[in-house]
């Protein structure tokens, strides 16, 4: 591992100023992704700016309803928060389905959103990877790509975003509060992550040195009926092979409102706007849910080893929505 300097900033502005002045510095939060990637030689910062003692660790209820979640709130504390459990079960479920108890006690809200892809070629410095080293090629494009993208990939990169939390937040229309060298700014979660396109090394729309300070959840009473369904290769402690976050609001049997987002299909959490459009205003049925998923996935381009992700994503869409409609969401 490359030697690095360590700094504990006195405040948000100072943290951002240090990152702006130090081109090879990185923020350190829970470290569960960054420390791992530093050991692997994938990330090589020469200065770590530790954000965990900044006063960003509160969960506040907002006056008009909604919640502001500090960037350094640990995933475990957020999942256990009574308001999250009652009003945003999709969020609690996504967090609880991720990693392990020991990791959730370290992992933070901000760090989770900015964790890097689990593409095995990205993690292996002996392999070509445009994300790690622009211009070097993509070993995954024609390699083992079972776990990678089916939507919105480019020839330069077919990686997926691994976060479960981000998928739930996409469905909830969360807003990310960031502090950039130019000042504070709000970024809708749906606009935080980029498509790979010509620049897979650029993963977010944030300015270099941007510090995530909080995530805001809007007041969304319908989210009390919400679910997160995650499919993995083993029963627990594994990244998603497919996942869906769903919020369903029925008027009788007619879909008044619905929010859907998919994980493990693209370079960013995938808000399924097209599927939502199919569903809204129609009487709910499992057949309708399947048609909605098909509409969303019409543009999918599976890779050699991951065609199964299309029927899988369709099946979990049907199951999550049907269980919500019947009022018996499975864990």
């Amino acid at each position: 591992m490359r030697p690095f300097r360590y700094h504990r900033p006195a405040g948000v502005a100072e943290a951002v100023a240090v990152l702006a002045a130090e081109p090879q510095a990185a923020y350190l939060a829970g470290g569960t992704n960054l420390v791992d990637l530093m050991k692997l030689g994938v990330q090589r910062p020469d200065l770590l700016v530790d954000v965990t003692r900044l006063p960003l660790d509160a969960v506040e209820e907002l006056p008009g309803g909604g919640l502001r979640i500090g960037a350094t709130v640990r995933n475990s504390d957020l999942a256990a928060h009574p308001v999250v459990r009652r009003d945003y079960p999709v969020l609690a479920r996504a967090l609880l389905a991720a990693a392990s108890g020991q990791l959730r006690n370290l992992a933070t809200t901000g760090g989770n959103l900015l964790q890097r892809t689990r593409c095995v070629y990205f993690q292996d410095t002996g392999k070509a990877c445009n994300k790690r080293e622009p211009g070097s090629g993509c070993a995954a494009r024609h390699g083992q790509n079972r776990d990678l993208a089916v939507l919105d990939w480019s020839d330069l990169c077919v990686a997926t975003h691994p976060s479960d939390l981000a998928v739930a937040l996409a469905a909830l229309d969360a807003v990310v509060e960031v502090h950039e060298p130019d000042g504070p700014r709000d970024v809708p979660l749906a606009a935080l992550h980029r498509s790979p396109g010509e620049h897979p090394e650029r993963e977010t729309t944030l300015a270099r040195g941007a510090l995530i300070t909080a995530v805001r959840l809007p007041h969304l009473p319908a989210a009390r009926r919400s679910a997160y369904l995650k499919v993995r290769d083993r029963a627990s402690f594994a990244f998603a092979v497919g996942s869906v976050a769903a919020v369903l609001d029925l008027d009788g049997d007619v879909v008044r409102d619905v929010r859907l987002a998919y994980g493990a299909v693209a370079h960013r959490p995938w808000r399924a706007y097209r599927a939502e459009e199919e569903l809204r205003g129609r009487p709910f049925s499992p057949q309708l849910a399947a048609r909605a998923a098909d509409a969303e996935l019409a543009e999918a381009r599976p890779l050699r080893h991951n065609g199964f992700k299309l029927p899988l994503t369709r099946a979990i869409t049907v199951r999550a929505l049907t269980e919500l409609a019947e009022g018996t969401p499975a864990p």
Binding site: L48, S76, S100, Q102
Partner: protein, 183 residues
């Protein structure tokens, strides 16, 4: 401990830092290369070899310790971040000549074979039982709004971050169940 210039442990120009934190209730002060993980500091500098290095990447749980009372994987924590904080390792779960109820239950239930994963299992179970006491839900908790009952399925899910190469899992679950019931 909030940040602030007075709490800084290092000047920015150095690759090593002085850090002071409690380990099993004793204050320890070390000068460390910033790259040193908590796991390596415990094992290589403090002679506490209970916590084990299985994978060094957060995947196996054999390095689990308690940090300010919460179970964490010590292989993913840089020790330089720990100034003023408090760590408990398997060596600190009970006095030198005694077993905690959890440790005694592991012995009684034969909850290990080679024992390599055991210190991590013990620290993880200790932290997990406290999480249950605080009413934290898990991925298999049916109703998120009421405190979970500690069924075997709950124990298995909550201990999923600790792998056992010898597959002593049924006995580990039994030992934890007995400890939880006795509390």
């Amino acid at each position: 401990m909030r940040g602030g210039p007075e709490s800084e442990t290092t000047t920015d120009e150095r690759h090593s830092s002085q850090v002071a934190f409690d380990v099993n209730d004793a204050r320890r002060e070390l000068t460390l290369d910033n790259r040193t993980t908590l796991l390596d500091a415990l094992r290589e500098r403090l002679g506490l070899t209970g916590a084990k290095k299985g994978c060094d990447h957060g995947q196996c749980g054999s390095c689990t310790v308690l940090l300010d009372g919460s179970r964490v994987k010590s292989c993913l924590v840089f020790a330089v971040t720990l100034d003023g904080r408090s760590v408990v390792t398997v060596e600190g779960l009970a006095g030198p000549d005694e077993l905690s109820p959890l440790q005694a239950a592991f012995v009684a239930h034969d909850a290990f074979q080679c024992g390599y994963c055991t210190p991590g299992q013990l620290c993880s179970a200790r932290g997990m039982l406290d999480e249950v006491t605080r009413g934290w839900p898990s991925a298999v908790t049916d109703d998120l709004t009421t405190p979970a009952e500690l069924t075997d399925a709950e124990i298995r899910e909550r201990m999923a971050g600790n792998l056992c190469r010898c597959a002593a899992y049924p006995h580990i679950v039994a030992a934890i169940r007995e400890t939880a019931t006795a509390r």
